[in-house]
């Protein structure tokens, strides 16, 4: 099995790149005009989950933060796609 050093050698640089991408994306969002939507709040919630995953793995905690936690089927589809974060206003109105 690889050691921590092996994992660092394999994955530190791509993880560093992805971390800077996230920082630059958030700066970019701040810099531009217009209204935010629910995806921004979802993203920040996921960043908190990343740092405080509780008894979950970090990946699972982030995915759970970006998931719809309602439990019953919705009456009908209004779109075919998905956004990547739950729209709580929509979920609460169903």
């Amino acid at each position: 099995m690889p050691s921590k050093k092996d994992i660092l050698d394999l994955y530190f640089m791509p993880a560093r790149r992805d971390l800077i991408e996230i920082a630059a994306y958030l700066d970019r969002l701040d810099r531009h005009e217009g209204e935010e939507d629910f995806r921004v709040a979802g993203f920040y919630k996921a960043l908190v989950a990343l740092q405080n995953p509780g008894d979950k793995s970090r990946a699972e905690a982030v995915l759970l933060a970006l998931s719809d936690h309602s439990e019953t089927p919705i009456p009908a589809a209004t779109i075919q796609g998905a956004f990547g974060a739950p729209d709580e206003s929509l979920i609460n109105s169903q």
């Binding site: 099995m1 759970l64 998931s67 919705i74 009908a76 075919q80």
Partner: protein
């Protein structure tokens, strides 16, 4: 290296992709019926699609020495109109005995609606009636957790043999739900969503290498028909030996697919 692509939408791929997969060591391709990137305008559109899956794609794959198999259904994206979906379901008996058909799939949920769930349950009844294995699509992104739970509940209510069901597109938050309930799990390797090669190997490390496979689900969107072999290379980087890699990319899919009487390689 020898591998099986257990989930690829070859109707959307070029003939060059078949050549690349053959050169990479692909020994079988399994193609679930799914959305084709657009809603079909008529039931006849599905009739033609089922002919494409059972006649044209096997012939195209055979030119590169790869056996091609398929699964039949109407996908959840096009199941919101339940009347339309039922007309498509009525086509399945005509195709189910064709020699390369593996079972019913990829059925499942998309937006977790009442009609999607009703049509999902009707597919499960068809699978039971014809004694067919099932391949399941779980919803995308924020809808995946809820959809996976609804699907597992429906399968339990229908008393389906979980060892003959593979639930695909699992990620870190759904892999445990699927495996702990006795189902097979599929990991889909997409460049922009689902799993990257590195995360797929993490899931193997965290959830074990039993009853799990990897697929490229290459289709009309951003996807990579060589994603399975690229993930095998990722396993090599993590120092897994050849036998372990072959177990994940060849032996595992083979042992699930042997539930399907028509699967022979």
């Amino acid at each position: 290296m020898k591998y099986i692509e257990p989930h690829g939408h070859m109707v959307s791929r070029t003939t060059d992709d078949y050549q690349k997969m053959a050169m990479a060591g692909c020994e079988a391709i399994c193609e679930p019926a799914f959305w084709a990137g657009y809603d079909r305008a008529s039931v006849q559109g599905f009739y033609d699609y089922f002919r494409q899956l059972t006649e044209y794609e096997p012939a195209r794959a055979a030119k590169f020495g790869i056996p091609h198999f398929c699964w039949l259904c109407i996908n959840p994206k096009e199941s919101e109109d339940a009347g339309f979906a039922r007309e498509v379901l009525s086509l399945i008996p005509e195709f189910i005995d064709r020699p390369t058909v593996l079972g019913i799939g990829e059925i499942g949920l998309n937006k977790n609606t009442k009609n999607e769930l009703a049509i999902f349950e009707e597919h499960v009844e068809i699978a039971k009636k014809y004694d067919q294995p099932i391949l399941i699509h779980t919803p995308h992104l924020e809808d995946k957790l809820k959809g996976t739970k609804l699907i597992i509940d429906a399968l339990k209510n229908a008393n389906v043999d979980s060892s003959r069901v593979v639930i695909d597109h699992v990620e870190e938050h759904t892999a445990g739900l699927v495996l702990d309930n006795g189902f097979w799990a599929g990991m889909t390797l997409y460049p922009e969503s689902k799993c990257t090669p590195a995360r797929a190997v993490d899931i193997l490390e965290n959830f074990g290498m039993e009853n799990i496979w990897m697929n490229s689900a290459c289709d009309w969107g951003v996807s990579d028909p060589l994603a399975v072999v690229k993930t095998a290379l990722e396993m090599g980087k993590r120092q897994y030996d050849k036998a372990t890699i072959e177990r994940v990319i060849y032996d595992n899919p083979k042992s699930f697919l042997e539930n399907c009487p028509n699967f022979k390689i």
